[in-house]
Amino acid sequence: MSVLVDDDTRVVVQGITGGEGEFHAGQMIEYGTNVVAGAVPGKGGEEVHGVPVYDTVSRAAEAENADASVVLVPPAFAADALFEALDSPVDLVVAITEGIPTQDMARVYKRLGETDTHLIGPNCPGVITPGEAKLGILPGNIFSSGNVGLISRSGTLTYQVVDNLTDRGLGQTTAIGIGGDPIIGTDFVEALSLFEDDPATDAIVMCGEIGGTDEEAAAEYIDANMDTPVAGFIAGRTAPPGKRMGHAGAIVSGSGAGTAESKIDALDEAGVLVGDTPEEVADNVEELL
């Protein structure tokens, strides 16, 4: 079992003829992902890695019965690609692109609310169900199949934590990189609820970071609704207020909301075991299982 993706998921890659798109489509296919089509305007009729390319996502989705899309297009065109994916329609859109203007995403977010589609990202490494399918740019080799669900706002931090887990034989049901931008589709609460409903997931790791109040909302949700135990980690304890730490989402406003302290306290109170280091997170997962 898993959430969001498995080996039945039929994937369109938007931007498959670009450098990034072609490379990662190849990696996804190599991992075993069922990539059924590419979509690039003007490239209809071509093939990439043996996969047919269509001019529009609608046509790709219709012709190949696709139900998910991975967006690997440059930031200037990404919002349009997301609107197109939402309108094709597919059930799941994974937006890898980093650097989409925030106001573009606000408009996408408004549209998203008018659909039933799950959007993961943007500015995220993607979603992987180890051994079945990977939608995104995660390095497949560090993941292993198991009973831990993982949710993270950060890419390489996810890898670090997964590395620590896999080292100890703690495999994953599904890992979701929800992305580090101020406005994202699926947030912690939505991702947590997916894992809560997944019988194969016995524990969950959530890696948050400073900025916003998504972790605080997650803590409230966990307290009220969840039986599955959760281990937590919050990056950015040492970040000074008012400075943007790489992720656009990781900016602490001067007023005290969105600090690491506020997030850790909220999670603590909700019964989440928060670790100080990635190693400690793995310790905590072992304890919870």
Binding site: P75, T102, S154, Y159, T238
Partner: protein
């Protein structure tokens, strides 16, 4: 990218907002000339990105040439919360009876713009938000529709703005919203909007932060970027295209991915050190990019040691290692000790080829951080407080 007050005021004035007469000055003579052409009383305002300039002595009012000279002498060159003042804005002083706050920003929790008005302007609006949130009227805006005129009016009336200036203040808010959209801003803000004794409305300050990710479609604003940078290191980071934040400590940090770099900072602190910076070199690790990152970190004279932490992911560890080796080949001797830790794809191969004579090499993130903290302590850093 945060514009300076004088830059934001230019943008605001062009959009039709009422701003006071003003001129930029970089010397006492220029201040006097500007004040002369604008007339007294005139405000002399430091152009640096710090809050509470007024309280900190960065704004002075001059009624005469003598006072203007005095103000210029005291403000130009002063250190304001760590920043040196190179430029001042000389501006016609406004004779106000009321100060309002008007601003637009993104409410990330809601995923929507929010327009705000308060009749308690002229002070730290974040304090107002904390202490009496009801004193700020908020209108969430549907980004597909944009702000409706009724929303601007409602915010203004709900904030208790007096009726005779309500329409003008609503106009300021509408224009700020349009500017926010048209410029892909993170924030557009005027604090205070001053109401004069003859019931005119004047934008006495101007704040504008532009979304860095959207600068590509605003070449006019992007041109202001260099002038907006606060110090040489920030300008260098812009040039190299790094996400870089300078901090107070002495352990330099280089890594890939914001979350992991932040975690590295946290671990430095956890193991008793003090981070000197946040530097995310992003995906890939070509030799040039690695060299640029080292250049940046070494350029900070506070740095006593460097931790270089890369989780390869799709990037191959051996390529990263080669990049590091090439980058340090330019030095006869490294100016500061560097501890490297590679993980992920082909990490072992990478560790094997790293130039271990010049570099410290560690297996784990925790180990690498501890070693760098050690080096920094040995070099005379104070070691900080452990947790």
């Amino acid at each position: 990218m945060r514009l300076h007050e004088y830059q934001a005021k230019e943008v605001f004035a062009e959009a039709g907002l009422p701003t006071p007469d003003a001129e930029l000055a970089e010397s006492t003579d220029e201040v006097l000339a500007a004040a002369d052409s604008i007339g007294y009383p005139a405000a002399v305002k430091a152009q640096v990105h710090v809050g509470g300039r007024g309280k900190a002595g960065g704004i002075e009012l001059a009624e005469s040439d003598d006072e203007a000279r005095e103000a210029a002498d005291s403000i130009l060159g002063m250190d304001l919360k760590g920043y040196t003042v190179d430029r001042v804005l000389v501006e016609a002083a406004v004779d106000f009876v009321d100060e309002l706050y008007v601003g637009v920003t993104m409410d990330r929790g809601e995923g929507k713009p929010v327009a705000m008005v308060s009749s308690q302007g002229g002070v730290n609006i974040e304090e107002v938000a904390e202490e009496s949130p009801e004193a700020i009227a908020r209108e969430h805006v549907d980004p597909a529709f944009g702000m409706h005129p009724y929303q601007a009016r409602r915010a203004v009336y709900d904030a208790g703005v007096e009726s005779d200036v309500a329409s003008d203040v609503a106009g300021v808010l509408s224009t700020l919203y349009d500017l926010w959209v048209d410029s892909d801003a993170d924030d557009t803000e005027v604090n205070p909007v001053m109401v004069t004794s003859d019931r005119e409305v004047v934008c006495a300050d101007a704040v504008m932060n532009v979304d860095d990710d959207a600068l590509f479609r605003h070449p006019d604003l992007a041109e202001m970027e260099d002038a907006a940078a606060e110090d040489d290191l920030e300008a260098k980071a812009n040039e190299y295209g790094f996400d870089y934040v300078r901090l107070e400590g002495n352990v330099g940090i280089i890594g890939n991915g914001a979350g992991l770099v932040m975690t590295t900072l946290d671990l430095v602190d956890y193991y008793g050190g003090e981070p000197a910076n946040f530097l995310d070199i992003g995906g890939g690790a070509k030799a040039e990019r690695v060299a640029n990152a080292l250049d940046m970190v070494f350029a900070d004279e506070n740095v006593d040691s460097v931790v270089f932490n890369i989780f390869g992911g799709i990037t191959r560890g051996d390529e990263v290692a080669q990049g590091i080796n090439d980058a340090i080949a330019q030095f006869d001797e490294l100016p500061k000790p560097i501890v490297v830790r590679l993980a992920g794809t082909n990490a072992e191969e990478g560790m094997d080829i790293l130039n271990a004579d010049a570099l410290g090499v560690e297996e784990t993130l925790e180990g690498a951080v501890q070693k760098a903290v050690e080096h920094a302590g040995a070099a005379g850093g104070d070691g900080g407080e452990g947790r």
